[in-house]
Every structure is written in C-alpha cells, then in structure tokens.
C-alpha cells in the first residue's frame, strides 16, 4: 500500500513538473498544469487534502524533492509537514517573509513582493538570466545541503498560508502513532557532506536560461548612393523609448491592479507568439511582463498571455473582444522621423499598422488615436535610430472600445468603396485591409496573402470569379454593390452570405462593351479552386 501511494505520488509529481516546465517552452496544453497554481483553487485543495498543492503540484516543491532525493537517496525525507515541531526561528522567518510580501505589495512593489512565490522562482530560474538563475540556485543548494524542503518551510509565503489552512484539512498528515520522532523531516542546521554530484542538479534548474535568443541588430545606412551590388547594411536594435506608462499585455486591464496580481512567473513571456512580452527591470514591477517592441509587436488576434497566466493577472479575453482592447496609443515625433532627418519617403508605420490608424497627412504620419490599439507594430518597424520616431504610450487602464455593430461596420466599408477603394476587408469588427486597383488584382493579392479567412469582404462588383476567390479564401460575408448572377450560388455552396445592392445578368468589362474577361475565363469551370487557376492564367495574358 505504501509503495502504491509512493508511486502514485511520484507519478503525479513528475507529471506536473514536466507539464509546468513544458508550458514555459510552449508545449500545447501544458499551461493548464501551470494554472493549477491558481491560489484560490489551491486553497480549496488544501482544505480538502492538506498540503497537496505543495506536495504534488508545485514545480518548485517537486524540484526540491528531487534534489533531496538525489543528495539523500537513502533517507526517507517526509514531504512538507504541518504537524511537526518547528523552531521559533523558522516561524519568525516564515511569517516575516509573508508580512514583508504583503507590506511590499501594499506599497505597490508587487513585482518585488512576488519574488519568493514558487511559480515566480521557478519561472525566473528557467527564463531569466542572473536574477532568476541565482534565485533557483539558492533554492536547489538549500535543498541539497539541508534536509527537507527548506524553501517551502522557511520562506515560501504560500507555504505559510497553506500551513495554516491545512490544519483544517480533511486528510491530515499521519503523524502520531507511526512517527518515531526521528526528526529527519526536520531541517538540520548541521551540514552534511552530500553524496551526489551537485552540478548535475544545478544545471537542471539553469537549463532554460540559455534559451533567450541573442540580440541582433540594425543601423540606417547613410543616404549615400550605392556604388556596388550586394552586401548588407549594418543594422542595430533601437533604444527602448521612455514611456510615461508601460504598455501592459492585453487583459492586464489596470496597471495598479496588475502589478499587485502578477507574480512575474514569465510564463506569458515564454509563450508570447509576437515575442514582445519582456520582463520589466524597474524595481517596483521587477519581473512583471511589459511590451517591448524591439523584437516584435502584439498580434491583434492573440490572447495567449491571458490564456496561460496562472494568476489571472492577465484576464483571458475573448478572441472577438481582443481587437477592441486598446493598450495605449502611438506618439509620433517629427524630429526623429527619417522623413525629417534624411528626407526619405519612409512609410513603414503606415504600411504596418494593422488597424490603419496611421495616415500620411501632408507628407507626415498622423496617428488616429481613436483607432490606435497600441499594438506597437509601428514602433517595431520604425527605422529611426537610436530612438524610434514613433512609440507607444501605455494606458493606466486599458480601454475596451465598444465594437461597432456589423451594420455600422458594413456601412463604413461601403463608404470606403465609394471613396475609391477596390476591396475593403474587416475582421473581428475592425477594418483590416483597404486595397486599391483595377479588376481582380487587389482581391487576388489579398487572397495570396491569405488575408480573407473569416472576414467580411466588401467590393464593388462580385462576379463568379471574385466569388470563387472569396469562397476559397474563406470569407464569412461578401458585400457588393453589384453582383453577377452566378456569384451567390458559388458563395452559398460554401455557406457564405452575399449582400448586394443589385444583381445583374452579366458583368461587363472596363469599356462596358463586352463581358468581363475574367468572367469569360471561369465560364466553363465549376470548382472554385480551379477557377482561381483559370483567373491567374487569364491575368497573365
């Protein structure tokens, strides 16, 4: 029975350790294990099962148990125990740490206050260089040289709370008749020489820290004429601009609340697909994630950070909601812009903005702050060095801008068509692309860039050819001024709605004399995929 219990426990421990570690390296679904750290959930578990969390789910605890086992393989060191005598010193240290954490958090230094929390230590040891690895090494060394889980019993604020709560638990640690009071579970001050190889275990904690990619950089080549071919201009990373307020991950909502809730575990940092979440280095928010646009920018449809956050410090947003959460706003500085400094016709920010919030007005970029979501794409691509000419200021409280209704959105898209656009594409309630040009080329370009999936596509004329492109591209709704007769059929076959102001028998070419050449090209083809091939062929001619 004892052996079965031991094996089951070991299995759960290893499972959780692997799963939590996997979460830091982006393995799918592993963040579920990390979320087991949710404090309240753990508290309930503790009331039911005693210090079950510390024993089997806490990654830091499991690592300590492993280290214990490596260094003292022959001693049966009991798990963190609530019922054993503890010294006065231990009690004083434990409660002082907890008190200090609460006090620090109360004065707003939550990033610092969360340092001793297990997820924070574990995450930082895996992903942050010197502060994290040092912290991790301290835990491991303590566990190696002393017996038992020193960190859990002496430092961990969770441990202190759980210790208290577990006194109420239904399943109690079985101490009493079976205990011969060997005090092996009790940390000893006297150091014993360790048997195992220490470096092997230390490296286990350090392994992840090397993962941070090396920094690569760009500097603008002087505007001189190029004389020879080939070669690459030097590039350097920009300097991070001073922000009045940091830009926080989407779902962090309130800066002050976030700094209290976040333990700085680095899980969101490790999982950010845009590679823009980086730990803060300032003291009050040390280790907490902030957006740093040197390596990437916040992807508009991504909610990964909220998904993985074990503390719910970053709220898990609905994907449809995400584009309407504004993190901050972009600020453009004329003196730094390369349009001023070397008269270049740069349009990097205008091209990159995913919500088209930046327009060229009289030759300079102008930010529409009502639309700007603060994603930092403009800051990321700005070529000005050392400081980017456009940067994002964070909001103290993230704003959820009410998404406009679909009817209003379509009305706006129609207005854009009247204004001369050939194709307007909206996704998640936001216009994401406006293309100009003649014929099918703009639509085909969007299709080639795979930007039609799940979108509302508005275009002046939809014939069978355009319908095929929208159908294969995976549009959700097609809005048109004029629709050809066969278009609706093709779209309906794929479950796509068509809203057209008028329907005509056949679509004419530009001279309004003959049928549209693209319509002719797809006349005899029925399958949308094959129709696109036919369109390409016809366009080449």
């Amino acid at each position: 029975m004892k052996a079965v219990r031991f094996m089951a426990k070991t299995f759960v421990r290893l499972l959780f350790l692997v799963a939590v570690t996997g979460a830091f390296y982006g393995l799918p679904f592993c963040w579920l294990a990390a979320r087991a750290e949710r404090f309240l959930w753990a508290l309930v578990l503790t009331i039911l099962l005693g210090r079950f969390f510390c024993d089997a789910l806490c990654p830091l605890g499991i690592v300590q148990s492993l280290v214990n086992w490596v260094f003292h393989p022959r001693r049966h060191v009991r798990r963190v125990c609530t019922r054993l005598p503890e010294t006065k010193a231990q009690r004083i240290v434990r409660w002082s740490v907890l008190g200090a954490c609460v006090a620090l958090a109360a004065v707003g230094c939550a990033g610092f206050a969360s340092l001793p929390l297990p997820m924070s230590v574990y995450g930082k040891a895996l992903l942050l260089w010197w502060p994290g690895v040092t912290l991790g090494a301290v835990v491991v060394v303590l566990a190696a040289f002393c017996k038992g889980r020193i960190w859990c019993n002496w430092v961990c604020p969770y441990g202190t709370v759980f210790n208290l709560v577990s006194r109420l638990s239904l399943v109690k640690d079985k101490v009493g008749p079976g205990c011969d009071n060997c005090r092996l579970c009790f940390p000893q001050t006297k150091r014993e020489k360790s048997a195992g190889d220490q470096s092997a275990t230390v490296s286990a904690a350090e392994g992840g820290a090397t993962r941070r990619e090396t920094l690569k950089g760009v500097a603008l080549l002087a505007a001189a004429d190029k004389l020879t071919d080939g070669g690459l201009a030097d590039v350097s990373l920009p300097v991070v601009p001073a922000r009045e307020a940091p830009v926080l991950p989407p779902g962090a909502v309130d800066r002050r609340l976030f700094s209290l809730k976040c333990v700085g575990c680095q899980l969101c940092v490790a999982n950010c697909p845009g590679e823009c979440l980086k730990p803060s280095t300032s003291l009050p928010t040390f280790g907490q994630p902030q957006l740093d646009f040197r390596y990437g920018y916040c992807i508009m449809s991504c909610v990964r950070c909220g998904e993985v956050c074990p503390e719910k410090a970053i709220e898990f947003l609905q994907r449809e909601q995400r584009p309407h959460v504004h993190l901050g706003y972009a600020v453009w500085e004329k003196d730094r812009c390369v349009r001023t400094t070397n008269g270049d016709s740069c349009t990097a920010c205008v091209r990159k903005c995913p919500v088209r919030a930046i327009h060229l007005v009289k030759g300079f970029p102008f930010v529409n702050r009502d639309v700007c979501i603060g994603c930092g794409a403009c800051e990321h691509v700005c070529p000005a060095r050392p400081l980017p000419a456009i940067h994002v200021q964070g909001f103290a409280r993230q704003r959820v801008v009410n998404p406009i209704s679909e009817a209003d959105l379509i009305a706006e898209m129609r207005a854009r068509l009247d204004g001369g656009a050939a194709v307007v594409v909206a996704r998640d309630g936001v216009i994401v692309a406006i293309e100009e040009g003649e014929g099918l080329a703009p639509l085909l370009k969007l299709y080639d860039a795979r930007r039609l999936a799940g979108t509302i596509v508005a275009t002046r004329t939809v014939g069978r050819a355009a319908a095929a492109i929208c159908a294969v591209g995976g549009a959700r709704l097609v809005v048109a001024v004029t629709a050809g007769k066969g278009a609706g059929e093709i779209l309906r076959a794929r479950g796509i709605e068509l809203r057209a102001a008028q329907t005509v028998e056949r679509i004419l070419d530009r001279k309004r004399k003959d049928s549209c050449p693209m319509e002719k090209a797809v006349m005899s083809v029925t399958e949308p995929e094959k129709m696109i091939e036919a369109i390409r062929k016809a366009m080449r001619k």
């Binding site: 020879t228 080939g230 690459l232 201009a233 016709s345 080639d448 860039a449």
Partner: protein, 414 residues
C-alpha cells in the same frame, strides 16, 4: 567545347563564366547571405582553382563588372586569371561601365571607372566592354548615364585606341533604350549585345512582367542587324536549374537523365547567333556539369523546343516572383535582405495548397535569421526599384509577403 564566334581573332567558347556569384569562404556563393557579413569574403583560392579548371576545359570567356560582389569581382577575377599563368591571349575578359549612381554620371567618373577596371583586372586592355544594363531606370537614366555626358562616344574612342577590342551593351528594362541603340548601330557598330534569354523569357517575358520584352524579339532583332548575342540569366539565377515538378514533368519524358540546368543551357546554345552563354558557376559541380553540356553542344530538336515551350508555360503557372538573386538591389539602406526574402517567398509562400504555419515561420527564421532584416522592416522608400533588372516592384512584393507572414503568425497564435 563548342565555339562559334571570334573576338579579336580568338575563338570564344560557347559557355562563358559569369563572375557575379563567386564562391565564398563560407561555402555559399557571394550572393548567398546566409551567414554573418564578416564571413562572406570571396574564396580566392577556390576561385583560382575554378578559373584554371575552366581554361583547361576550354572555357575562355569571363564576364565581370565593377559592381559585382560588393565591388570585389574584378579584383578577384584579375588575381585568378593572373595566377593561372596563361598568356593574355588565351582568354577573353568582358567588363562593364557600371555607372549606376548619379555621382558616377560624369565622364570623368566613367574614365576613372575604366581605369580602375584595368588595374583591378591586371590587364592593358579589355576584350569586351559593355554599357551596363541600359534601360534600367528608364530612358532618361540611360541618356544621362551614356549620352549626355559623352560616355558612349568616349567608348568609341577606346575601341579605336584598342584599349577595348569590342563594344557592346547589356540590356534590361526600358525598350526605348534598346531601340535607340539599334537605331544608332551605324554609328556605334555594336560588336555584340548581352540580353537575358532562356526558355521562359523567350516568348513569355511579358507574362512575367508587362514591362519586359520577349527574348525572341530581342534575339531576332539583333540577328537581323548581325550583332552576335551574349546570353545572361540562362537559368534565371538558378531558378530553372532547381527541381520543379511542373518543369520536370514536361522535360523528363524526352531525356530522363538530363538535369534541368542542361535543358536550359542547351536551349540557349541552340540558336546560331549566340556567341556565348554566361553561367555563374559557383560550385565545382556546376562547372563540370555545364562543361559536359557544351562539349560539344547538342542543339535542341524541334520536338525538344516544343517541350521547353510547354515547360515555360508550366513554370509560369507556379506564379513565382522573378527574382534572380542578382543582388543589384542590395544593400538595402534599411538593412533588409531582399533577395533572400523573395526567394523564401517563392519556395514557401507561392501556390494555393494547404500549408503549415509553424513550419513556414520556422523556415522564414532560418532563411532570414536576423529579425531586423525581415520583410516587416521595409519602409517602402523604393530605392531598390530602379536597380532591379527584372522590373520587380520590390516594396509592393515585400508588403504582400509581410502580410502573408502576419497571417501565419496570427494562425500560430490561435
């Protein structure tokens, strides 16, 4: 080795060596920027061996330019030709007046460029001298580069003084420049002309880009004026040599053992008015294979030409961006690695088939390892466009590629 024409009384091999893609110490060619810039110097030792081997095989036409390989091509080729110890009469050197930058549009700058070429190539004269890529940037640029400053007339003087033996021009871009040269053939007596020719550009250049001119028309016009033709881009920067199912499907039934490169080179060699076919043979294997193709050249039969025509159509259906990695656009002032991005797009983003977003992004990170050199940092300044001999609208293509990458990123984030 098949020979057809003579330059200054010397027979010229039908296969020529293009010194634009010289081997580098990292094992790639000088246009392959996979590694750190510091490691990308030309492998002189390797080049010396290659040049010796080429001369041994009878390849004696060497084409270079002051602009190639960051300006090192002429120097390295000069050293290699000197090192092989052959008399100057054994080989033919072609170099160009590559005065692309407006600061080089004065006659003095052109003269300086020619003098520099002679010094770099360690020779007293140049066999074939070319006005480089006329038509790039439009007729006005051509006029400013060669006509208004008197550079073209000065080249005639050079030929009289026998500092250059033959005068010709290489053509990309605006057709007006080509027409002008042909109209003034009586005055300039062009000894040869270098054009882009291969089985895709033969009849479909317009489909690749509406601003291009079919090679067939160029070749026939030149033949009518009895101007020998030097061929560049017979393999489209290697694009026609790389495995392509659509092409192989058409060609393999006729000759299952022949490589795609052999087919493309044989096509070019088939035409009688071709003086030499230039190939940028970076690797020793390229040299051996191409030498075998031309020793002697077996012209294509009419059935084979028909198959090549079908292959060209099949190739066009692949919808590739016509970038030949010639690197004329480089260096991009904002540090982008343009040819690598375009080549990556052709390899991984073209076509309509399903695709694995994670895999493509991994390939992207491998192709362009430095984030700051990727497509999203394009500013749209358009400085690259006038340099592109294929008339690609580079900022536009890069924007489309970046949009596609953004979609992939969003897919991964889901």
């Amino acid at each position: 080795m098949t020979t057809r024409f003579t330059v200054d009384g010397r027979k010229v091999s039908l296969l020529g060596y293009g010194a634009m893609r010289l081997p580098t110490v990292d094992g790639g060619h000088a246009n392959n920027w996979l590694l750190d810039a510091s490691k990308r110097s030309i492998d002189q030792e390797h080049l010396n061996r290659q040049v010796r081997r080429l001369l041994d095989c009878g390849v004696n036409y060497f084409d270079t330019s002051p602009a190639y390989c960051r300006g090192e091509s002429e120097t390295c080729l000069g050293i290699a030709l000197k090192a092989c110890g052959r008399p100057r009469g054994d080989y033919v050197i072609a170099t160009k007046l590559s005065n692309f930058a407006p600061t080089q549009w004065t006659l003095a700058a052109c003269k300086e460029m020619f003098a520099k070429s002679l010094r770099a190539l360690q020779t007293d004269y140049v066999d074939n001298y070319l006005l480089h890529s006329i038509g790039n940037g439009g007729f006005s640029t051509f006029s400013k580069r060669y006509l208004e400053n008197g550079a073209a007339d000065w080249c005639l003087e050079l030929r009289e003084k026998r500092l250059i033996r033959n005068l010709g021009f290489s053509y990309h871009g605006d057709k007006k420049a080509f027409d002008w040269c042909i109209e003034h053939h009586d005055k300039y007596k062009w000894d040869f002309c270098q054009i882009q020719m291969n089985y895709v550009d033969w009849r479909h250049a317009k489909q690749v880009n509406a601003r291009n001119v079919d090679a067939k028309w160029l070749y026939e016009t030149l033949t009518a004026h009895k101007i020998p033709v030097v061929i560049m881009e017979p393999l489209l920067g290697g694009r026609l040599a790389r495995y392509n199912w659509a092409i192989a499907n058409e060609l393999a039934p006729l000759d299952p053992e022949a490589s795609l490169a052999k087919w493309a080179l044989r096509f070019c060699g088939t035409f009688e008015n071709v003086m030499t076919v230039l190939s940028g043979m970076t690797f020793d294997e390229h040299i051996e294979e191409n030498v075998a193709t031309f020793s002697p050249l077996k012209p294509c039969s009419s059935a084979e030409l028909a198959a090549l025509e079908r292959a060209a159509e099949a190739y066009l259906s692949c919808n590739a961006i016509p970038c030949n990695s010639c690197n004329y656009c480089m260096p991009c002032p904002y540090g982008l690695d343009i040819p690598t991005i375009l080549t990556f797009r052709n390899a991984h983003l073209a076509g309509d088939g399903p695709r694995d977003a994670r895999k493509i992004l991994r390939e992207y990170a491998k192709a362009v390892p430095e984030e700051l050199r990727r497509a999203d940092h394009c500013t749209g300044c358009g400085r690259c466009n006038p340099h592109c001999p294929q008339q690609i609208d580079i900022p536009k293509e890069i924007a489309t590629i970046d949009a596609a990458i953004d979609v992939l990123k969003a897919e991964v984030a889901r």
